[in-house]
C-alpha cells in the first residue's frame, strides 16, 4: 500500500516538475534545478539551448 502511495507521489512530483519546467522554458527562462533533476534533464546541456 505504501509502495503504491510512494509511486503515485513520485509520479505526481515528476508531473509537477514537467509542468513548472515547461512553463519556465516557454517563458524563455531556465527551469529550476530541482525540476530538471527530477526529470533527468542534464542542467548544463539545457543551459546551452537558446530558449
Amino acid at each position: 500500500m505504501s509502495q503504491v502511495f510512494h509511486a503515485a507521489l513520485n509520479l505526481l512530483m515528476v508531473f509537477g516538475a514537467a509542468v513548472t519546467a515547461s512553463a519556465a522554458a516557454k517563458a524563455h527562462r531556465q527551469p529550476v534545478t530541482a525540476d530538471l533533476r527530477r526529470l533527468g534533464v542534464p542542467q548544463d546541456a539545457f543551459a546551452r539551448i537558446r530558449l
Binding site: T20, S22, A23, A25, K26, A27, V32, L39, P42, I49
Partner: protein, 505 residues
C-alpha cells in the same frame, strides 16, 4: 454510422483537389514557421484569420490544422541542427538531437523526429476520430451550468494552473474578460463599456486582438531584443536514413511518446511541452543505454518528438467536441471557426459532419504530406534561416496591418491593432502570458451567457451551479487545478525565488 464510416466519408472530402491544395499550403507554411525560431503556429494562424474571411470555411480550417501540425514537425529541425528550438515544444529535442548532430548523426536524428512525428500524428488522429463521438455523446447532456463549469475549468487551467505565475496568468485572463464585456449586452441590449464610442458597440474583434497580440506584439518584442549572433547550422553529414539499430531503439519511444502526448494535449492547457518533458524523463528511466543520455541518445529525440505531435491531435479533442481551446493555437483556431459562424462543440458534429470529419481526415493526409516534405527537403528548410530577421518581422507587421484593414476597413480598427500590439509587447516584456487574454475574449461572452441562462432557469439561485453532479465535479477539478500547482510551486519556492531574484509575483 460509426466513427470509421464517418472517417472514410471525411477522406472523400479531404481528398478533393481544392482541399488537398489547402492542406499542402497549410503544412508548407506550418513547417516554415516551425523552422523559424520566434514564429509559431499561433502567430501564423492569427495572421491568416483576416485573410481567410472570404475563403471556403472547410479549406481554411484544414489549412489552419496543417499549419499546427507543420509547426510541430518543423520545430525539431532547428532544435537538432542549431540547438535553437523553432517551437517551445521542441526544446527538449535539442538536448539529445543537437548532440547527435554534433557527432555526425544529424540525419538519423532528423529521421527519427520526422518518422516519430508521422507515426504519433497518425495514431493520435485515429484516437481523435474514435474518441470524439463518445465525448460528443456525453456533452450532449450538458446544460448551461455544466458548460459554465467547463469554461471556469478552462479559465483556471489556461491562466493559472500550468503557467509560470498564477497572478500574472489571472491578470491576463481578466484583461481578456474585461475586453469581452465591451459592446452590446446580449441579454438586455444595453451598451457596456463603450464610452460613447460607436465603433466599440460591436465589441472587440477577436481577430484584431489575436493578430495584435501574437503578430504585432511578437514583432515589437523581437525588435526590442536587438540583433543577436548569427545561428551556426551544423551540416547534416552522411545518410539521413536510420540503421536497423536506430529503428529498434526508436519504435518503443515513438509509441510511448504518443501515449504520453495525446492525453496531455487533450488536457485543458496541458501544452505540448509538458508531454515532451515527461517523455524524456520516461525514456531516460527505461533506456538500456543510460550512458548515452546527455551525449546524443536517439530515444531522447524519438519520444519527445512523438509526444509533441500526438499532443497536437490531443488538443483538437476538446476543441472540436466541446469548443474548448487548450492552447494558444487552439484559441486562435476557435476564433477561425467563429469567423465562419461555426461554433465547435457537440452540435457541430450533428449540423456540419462533412466539415468536421473532412477536417479530421485531412489531418491524416497532412501528416503524410509532412513526412514527404520534411526529410527530402531538409536543405531548403534550413536555408529559410538565412532570411534576415528584420525582413521577416517587417513583413509580418505589414501583413498584419493589411489583413486587419482588409477585413475591417476602418482607422479605428487600425488604432486598436496598434494599441493591443503595444499591450502585447508590454505583457511579453513583464512576463505576462498572452493566450489567457485571447481565451478570455473568446470564452468570456459564452461563459457569461451560460451563467445567466443557468441563473434564469434557477430563478437566481447560485446553488444551482453545484447541484448538478457534472458541474460540481468540473468546478471541483477547477479548484484542484488552482490549488495543486500553487502547492507544487511552493515546494520548490526557495530555489525559484533565489533563481528569479524577485522576478516572480
Amino acid at each position: 454510422m460509426g466513427a470509421f464510416e464517418f472517417l472514410i466519408q471525411g477522406l472523400g472530402t479531404a481528398l478533393q483537389p481544392a482541399m488537398l491544395l489547402y492542406a499542402l499550403i497549410g503544412v508548407t507554411l506550418g513547417t516554415a514557421v516551425g523552422v523559424l525560431p520566434g514564429i509559431g503556429p499561433a502567430l501564423t494562424v492569427a495572421l491568416l484569420l483576416p485573410v481567410t474571411y472570404h475563403l471556403d470555411p472547410a479549406g481554411s480550417l484544414i489549412m489552419f490544422c496543417g499549419i499546427y501540425y507543420g509547426g510541430m514537425y518543423g520545430g525539431s529541425t532547428t532544435s537538432i541542427l542549431l540547438n535553437t528550438p523553432g517551437e517551445s515544444s521542441s526544446i527538449i529535442t535539442a538536448l539529445e538531437g543537437n548532440k547527435m548532430a554534433r557527432a555526425g548523426r544529424g540525419g538519423p536524428a532528423l529521421a527519427t523526429a520526422a518518422i516519430g512525428s508521422f507515426i504519433a500524428g497518425l495514431i493520435a488522429t485515429l484516437f481523435l476520430a474514435f474518441l470524439a463521438p463518445w465525448i460528443v455523446k456525453a456533452a450532449l447532456a450538458f446544460g448551461p451550468r455544466e458548460y459554465f463549469a467547463l469554461m471556469v475549468l478552462a479559465f483556471v487551467t489556461v491562466s493559472s494552473a500550468f503557467g509560470d505565475s498564477t497572478l500574472r496568468g489571472l491578470t491576463s485572463l481578466f484583461i481578456g474578460l474585461g475586453l469581452a464585456c465591451v459592446g452590446i449586452d446580449q441579454l438586455t441590449g444595453q451598451a457596456r463599456m463603450a464610452f460613447g464610442v460607436p465603433e466599440l458597440l460591436d465589441g472587440v474583434e477577436v481577430t484584431t486582438l489575436a493578430v495584435a497580440m501574437f503578430a504585432v506584439g511578437e514583432a515589437l518584442a523581437i525588435a526590442g531584443l536587438g540583433s543577436r549572433a548569427a545561428d551556426e547550422v551544423i551540416p547534416v553529414k552522411g545518410s539521413v536514413w536510420m540503421t536497423a539499430k536506430d529503428w529498434s531503439r526508436s519504435w518503443k519511444p515513438w509509441l510511448r511518446g504518443t501515449a504520453i502526448g495525446f492525453p496531455i494535449g487533450a488536457m485543458p492547457a496541458g501544452g505540448a511541452e509538458i508531454g515532451t518533458f515527461l517523455s524524456y524523463a520516461t525514456e531516460k528511466r527505461l533506456t538500456k543505454h543510460p550512458e548515452e543520455f546527455g551525449k546524443g541518445a536517439i530515444e531522447g529525440v524519438a519520444g519527445p518528438e512523438a509526444a509533441n505531435n500526438a499532443s497536437a491531435a490531443g488538443t483538437l479533442v476538446p476543441l472540436l467536441t466541446l469548443g474548448l481551446p487548450t492552447s494558444a493555437t487552439a484559441a486562435i483556431m476557435l476564433a477561425g471557426f467563429q469567423q465562419f459562424g461555426l461554433q465547435p462543440g457537440p452540435l457541430l458534429f450533428a449540423t456540419n459532419p462533412t466539415l468536421v470529419w473532412g477536417l479530421i481526415a485531412s489531418l491524416l493526409i497532412a501528416n503524410a504530406m509532412l513526412l514527404i516534405l520534411n526529410l527530402p527537403l531538409i536543405g531548403l528548410w534550413v536555408r529559410l534561416l538565412t532570411i534576415p530577421r528584420h525582413w521577416l518581422y517587417a513583413g509580418i507587421l505589414l501583413f498584419a496591418t493589411l489583413g486587419t484593414i482588409g477585413a475591417n476597413p476602418s482607422t479605428f480598427e487600425l488604432g486598436m491593432l496598434l494599441g493591443f500590439g503595444l499591450l502585447g509587447y508590454v505583457m511579453r516584456l513583464f512576463g505576462y502570458p498572452i493566450a489567457p487574454v485571447v481565451v478570455g475574449l473568446i470564452l468570456g461572452p459564452m461563459a457569461e451567457q451560460q451563467l445567466r441562462r443557468a441563473l434564469s432557469i434557477s430563478q437566481g439561485d447560485w446553488m444551482t451551479l453545484v447541484q448538478s453532479p457534472i458541474a460540481a465535479i468540473l468546478l471541483g477539478i477547477a479548484a484542484l487545478a488552482f490549488i495543486v500547482p500553487l502547492i507544487l510551486r511552493q515546494s520548490g519556492k526557495g530555489e525559484v525565488l533565489s533563481q528569479l531574484a524577485g522576478d516572480e509575483d
